[in-house]
Symmetry: none
Subunit: 226 residues, 2 copies
Amino acid sequence: MEWVHQPPQQQLQQPKDHHNDQNNDTGNGGNGGGVVEVLYGKVMTDEQLEILQTQISDYATICEQLVEMHKSITDKQELAFSRMGNLHCDPLVASVGNKITARQRWTPTPVQLEILEHIFYQCTGSPSKQKIKYIAAELFQHGPISETNVDHWFQNRRARSKRKRLNISPNNAESKVEKDAESPREKKTKPRNLHSQRDSAPRAEDHCFKNRKMSFKTHFMDPRTN
Amino acid sequence: MEWVHQPPQQQLQQPKDHHNDQNNDTGNGGNGGGVVEVLYGKVMTDEQLEILQTQISDYATICEQLVEMHKSITDKQELAFSRMGNLHCDPLVASVGNKITARQRWTPTPVQLEILEHIFYQCTGSPSKQKIKYIAAELFQHGPISETNVDHWFQNRRARSKRKRLNISPNNAESKVEKDAESPREKKTKPRNLHSQRDSAPRAEDHCFKNRKMSFKTHFMDPRTN
DNA sequence: GATTTATGAATGAAGG
DNA sequence: CCTTCATTCATAAATC
């Protein structure tokens, strides 16, 4: 398989993952190894196959989007993204380099956030797909964003707003009104909360299941596992 | 594999150097000021665009080859997914002492997941009730699980896999055109196991793509560009 | 620059 | 199936 060396993209290394399908081999290259697994006779596992497939699809999509973006931008050169600090993220282009490190999470620009919040107040229900599409298109003028991002945003916003209502203010009816979105970037401070919902009580059995990262050396022998 | 867009002629030639930063968005200004001037102009040069396309084609070719290779090899040997060993974590007996903080959500163990994925790839349709029962029984050897879990898992897996695939095709012109008539729920999420990250090239507008982590966790293709 | 917090995204579970 | 919700995971941003 010499072609292995020729493909366009350079390797992307990523430290952590969700479901890593581990090849059946636990022994070989943990996180770093980029080894073609011919070891077992299989060129790649089914999972890998799907991943590859997904990646190609993604590539196609990205390409489309880039072209779109490129087109629209060149047409009217006024689309400036306000936020360019240290964010990097360039999928393909970046990956072409030799070293990759990237960001993976979308972060709304102040303007986008403001708009989103505004919409949120007005419409309590969840925006329809169509609406999401529209919103995304609107927001795209203020920075990179996808429909998925919008969808997730509303989902999270709704969920968290609700939870806050229920947990933090059991006595009060609720006030959906919350802090207005101002410039988050400049100075966004948050009043310290008493509790973090994130600290999970150490439950022994969780360890076993919790870890989705199926890194090769999974915690098969996690001592905690009572 | 329909996702392969077109059989590229060029045999895996690799484009070199997409560091488009050079004249385009050059080094992103660190954190302070975005010195990215190119952003205002073009997202990428025509040359870069072409390179990108070439890469996609290359990917498609590689994929085809891999699939072929994989197919021929696997036909010969069927490997039963049996490789797990010790791994255990006790079932969800969360009740330790008096306070019961039972876990509410089942989380597949790495082994279970692996098996499920295997089955998923082999049988495209939904497993029958009977089959689910059998699968659950099998998986139970590797950790707590119920038929419901299995059922849900397949349902979610199928749905998400499908959705992902569907989103890829629709041509999107989200720039300013908001004339979408129909709203196919668009949601491109989760390439299942990667949380990759990429960066390096400082581009501000890529957030939108962040979820298309195209890195292949196993760099079995390790394509390096230059 | 190590820790903590806020929040985008992934995913098990339900409802229809 | 499809959509939505609830919970959890992972990480950018904020703090210390």
